[in-house]
Amino acid sequence: MKNFKRVPVPPLNHINDYPMGSSCESFHITDQNSGWRVFMPVINLDKCVSCYRCYLVCPDGAIHQNEDQKFEIDYDYCKGCGICANECKINAINMVKEDK
């Protein structure tokens, strides 16, 4: 599994910074959906056995394995659906209320 690295988003301070048309380097301009969450999934790394199940079921591809082999959630793109927590066989993912 390859670690997923996003290209840093260029600063968009002026309308000229926006791309011509709707073509740009992939993932340059994306809409985050973190604001949709009511509950956020939190992985208990002491319990996690790296089975990849959450990685496979995440509908937004927001879970990945980082360089030290630990699983990580990209909270910019996690929308808080809870599928990962529901599907985790060893209950290593807890849904925690967002404090806003």
Binding site: L12, I15, M20, S23, C24, S26, D31, Q32
Partner: protein, 394 residues
């Protein structure tokens, strides 16, 4: 060497396309555009034009194919009319939003129902908001010349917008006149081959195309498109001047005034009816009446400042509309009134609607419009919106 030929408007466009050397033409035939695409198809068949001619199954596919071709940097042309234009409507903002310099001829034709194949300008008025440059031509020569100019405007790096060239159905598309066809060498010099743009697809710099942008960024994309379309006005004018220098035919940019400078009474027209109105102006001028004519050539981007400067000396203004925005008035009348308000110009304006479903706007009707404007100029009350050459009482 340029040469003269006896062509109708559709054929003139086809020659303009051939001289512009497109890489791809994707089109579906529809009256009264058919002759144009048939002619282009025969140019391809007999080897006069080296291009990919895509026979598509509908107008929606014609525009979808044009978008695909233009996305890889191909110079692309298509043509349609009326219901065909409405059918491809869903694709038009994709072309403009993706900033693809597609050029399309639209034969202005009535919309259903009642079904009708003849000319009026109802079809294009639906699509003024599609992000396309909208050009209206008066005769076949202008149709040929604007086809060549349109590619240059569309592909200008500051514009990168698709262009629609509007020809009145039948009156222009099917009427033969003498047309000068420039030489290929001269056109090649004016319009160099298109080599694509950085936002188009290529193997070296892979990109996501037609991305989604939600409420966090969408408005900025639209504003950039809007800003660039506004600035296209300047480029439309400079391309026209450049064309005039090289070919000896210019059209005055977005607006052409005819005997307008000292005119008290002005009529604003688009497309082929301008030709009839010129004759009427000449006749009234010979009788000593101070009347003039303004031909609106470009409706998007709208030439607000140019219109203000052209009409500033007039007392009353009439706007001829070959369309009805049902439940309101003629679409150009709305646009022109707004432009005058933006320029802080207070003029009495009147709307003359006619020519619907292919009915002629006759010389007599235009004389009547000028007479009504004269009455208004001396303080008589006339209808703000009126309808011409109507068969029965309203």
């Amino acid at each position: 060497m340029s040469r003269n030929a006896f062509l109708n408007g559709d054929e003139a466009v086809a020659y303009g396309v051939k001289l512009s050397r497109p890489h791809v033409v994707a089109a579906y035939p529809i009256t009264p555009q058919t002759i144009a695409v048939e002619k282009i198809s025969s140019f391809v068949q007999n080897g006069e034009l080296q291009c990919e001619y895509m026979h598509v199954e509908s107008e929606h596919s014609a525009m979808a194919c044009s978008i695909g071709a233009s996305s890889v940097g191909a110079r692309t042309f298509t043509a349609t009319s009326s219901q065909g234009l409405l059918y491809m409507a869903e694709c038009l903002p994709y072309a403009s939003g993706a900033r693809l310099p597609i050029v399309m001829m639209n034969a202005n034709r009535a919309i259903a129902t009642p079904w009708n194949i003849y000319g009026d300008q109802m079809d294009v008025m639906f699509l003024l908001n599609a992000g396309w440059v909208q050009i209206f031509v008066e005769d076949a020569q202008e149709a040929l010349d604007m086809t060549i100019q349109s590619f240059k405007v569309a592909e200008h790096k500051a514009v990168m917008a698709p262009v629609m060239i509007n020809l009145d159905g039948f009156v222009l598309t099917h009427t033969y006149e003498k047309v000068n066809i420039p030489s290929q060498e001269a056109v090649d010099q004016f319009l160099p081959a298109f080599t694509g743009a950085p936002h188009m697809m290529n193997d070296e710099t892979p990109m996501s195309m037609c991305i989604s942008a939600g409420n966090q960024h969408n408005m900025e994309f639209k504003l950039k498109q809007h800003r660039d379309l506004l600035s296209a006005l300047e480029i439309i004018e400079s391309v026209d001047r450049e064309f005039e220098e090289q070919f000896g035919r210019g059209y005055g940019g977005a607006i052409e005034g005819y005997k307008h400078e000292d005119a008290e009474i002005l009529l604003i027209t688009t497309g082929s009816v301008t030709g009839t109105a010129r004759v009427v102006v000449d006749q009234l001028r010979s009788e000593g009446k101070r009347v003039g004519l303004v031909k609106l050539r470009v409706v998007r981007p709208f030439p607000v400042a140019q219109l203000g400067a052209t009409i500033k000396n007039a007392k009353v203004i009439g706007v001829v509309d070959k369309n009805i925005s049902f439940g309101y008035e003629g679409t150009l009348y709305t646009n022109i009134n707004s432009a005058l308000i933006q320029s802080d110009i207070k003029k009495e304006t009147y709307n003359f609607i006619g020519g619907i479903g292919g009915r002629d706007i006759t010389k007599e009707a235009i004389l009547e419009m000028y007479e009504n404007l004269r009455l208004a100029s001396v303080g008589e009350s006339i209808e703000k919106v009126s309808y011409y050459n109507v068969r029965c009482a309203l």
